[in-house]
Amino acid sequence: MLKPKILTTDILIVGGGTAGCFAALTAAETSQAQVLIVEKAHIKRSGCLAAGVNALNAYLPEGETPESYLEYVRQDAAGVVREDLVFSLAQNFNRVTRKLEELGLRILKDADGHYVVRGRHSIKINGENIKPLLASSVAQYTNIRVLNRVNVTDYICREHKVVGVLAFSLEKDVFYVIYAKAVICATGGAAGLYRPNNPGFSRHKMWYCPFNTGAGYAMGIRAGAEMTGFEMRFIALRCKDTIAPTGTIAQGVKAVQVNGRGEEYLGRYAGILSTPMRLWATVAENQRGLGPCYLQTEGITVQQEEELYKAYLNMAPAQVLSWLDSGRNPRLANVEITGTEPYIVGGHCASGYWVDSRRATTLPGLFVAGDAAGGCPKKYVPGCLAEGEIAALSALEYSRGQESQTFSDDEMDAVRVRMNRCFDSRQSLYNAEQTEEAMQKIMDEYAGGIGTGYLIDGRKLAIAARKIQELLQCATEMHAENLPELLHIQEVVDRLYVCKVVIAHMQARKETRWPGYQQNADYPERDDPNWLKYVNSRYRAGKVEIVFRDIVKKGEFYEHSD
């Protein structure tokens, strides 16, 4: 039986990851507000940055400008981006990068003290300790409080206004009712919706953080917030088996992509060489029987290999272990590459909450930053930081006019029942693990997973929609014996809500805009006259209602109007 604990704060941040920590730092530095971070793991290593990252992928070196970055993102994402959002982040990339350096991040510099650039917009770092650096900065502020090992489940809404959250502890029998003057959602994206590359023992050896289960999206969906771009899934091109990043090899030792016959194949899939095209070309080569595909590393020098080892240990140690365990070092054997299962990630693609230019969602009192926020692909670490900053300043401004809310006794009783429902219910036939497996199978087979080469069509999507709804129905009756089981139920329910919205968005976009990410067999062509627009949705009375919206241009200041 979970017992209630009530807390109040000024600014509540859900998720102490990249964006969440930076939002907290911004709020604490610029105001006297009380800031509370609620984090399901521990902010020292939680979220995407746990293992480390090896570059800051959004930096503007000499010759690049916020305009040129926007142009790059617009091209890569085939025009359907929120220009206001991309531009405002790009304006801040370099400043937040310098701030990270002040916090202690090591960045590679040339003899003149300039950051060394990799590709067009990446700078090289030692990113192994990037998350501990952020966490220790957070610890220096007395007006930031951190609740680790507490999982947030839902927003508390009053007349559509978000006034707090419900959460439960993962360590003691306590549920939390937390009231706040403003809430910032920074829970990252969603992994584990589709059957992963390694579905068995190594089921969590995926690229995106498997503990980011789309909780923030699901909470927003359930509360009726408008969502955008869920049809633009992110499918990464990664090293086979370890699902480790490939950019370090491709850009570091300038390895080209070759097929099983040793031919460079990207040129065959012309047009612009966008991120989705690199992935799609690899899938297509395999489908034509010309796989497997590789990054051509054979013949690199011993020294290059050593540097690759170090770079990978700083972000994806499994890759180095794989090289040495198999004896197929990159110098001796090309590195096989593969497409991952689809993720929903607002920092790489455009899926997430629909926001105004201030990062306010359509629910008053709720702001969002990082992979949870939509409309703005290619944020990466610097963009997530910059967005955390913008969201924090907007939340602070909003919070000044707000009073803390509280539940009546009756409402509190209802919450107590709700938070204990899974313990009080009778044993059910299905547990979270079975439900997760079923969900991933459905998404793989009917909603364009790895198994079907990512291709979608209307008939299969209709089946997916029906089956996910059936699972969601069964999921409401699942029983938990302990806190880990309760968490697993919550995670799979959250994922099911996200799946529902992903399917509805894919059904709505009747064209093919992003090869692989959103490739519709019924409408195989890109159709600019009709589809250069956003697919958005709101969840109302159990239904995902689709709304279309026109492209927001760079100079516009977008505000919610309907």
């Binding site: 521990h42 090289k124 503990f211």
Partner: protein, 103 residues
């Protein structure tokens, strides 16, 4: 992909349990660490870096091509000392935490 905890080396400090981004590690009644569901490991290596006693080994599942090698790491004097062990042979790679990657 997962970790294996050698309880005979574990002192029960609990640091690995605190840091795991998936909250996967628990401690038994003697405070010794264990991972109830090894399949849920992401392979981030955060727990290994915390363990000052080398009690945590990191290995590839056979579904990822694992053939018996494992990885341990020690955080000492500003460096991460990674050691990959395969059939009794050790490969040692030192990464200075103050140096950025060349790649």
């Amino acid at each position: 992909m997962s970790i294996r905890i050698d309880q005979s080396l574990c002192t029960g400090c609990g640091l690995c349990r605190d840091v795991c981004p998936g909250g996967l590690i628990r401690q038994d009644e003697r405070k010794k660490a264990f991972i109830p569901e090894p399949r849920d490991c992401w392979g981030c290596a955060a727990c290994l870096k915390e363990c000052g006693y080398g009690a945590i080994r990191y290995f590839l599942g056979s579904d990822m091509g694992g053939q018996g090698a494992y990885l341990v790491v020690k955080d000492e004097q500003g460096c991460l000392h990674w050691q990959i062990n395969k059939n009794g042979l050790h490969t040692h790679i030192r990464v200075n935490k103050k140096e950025a990657n060349i790649y």
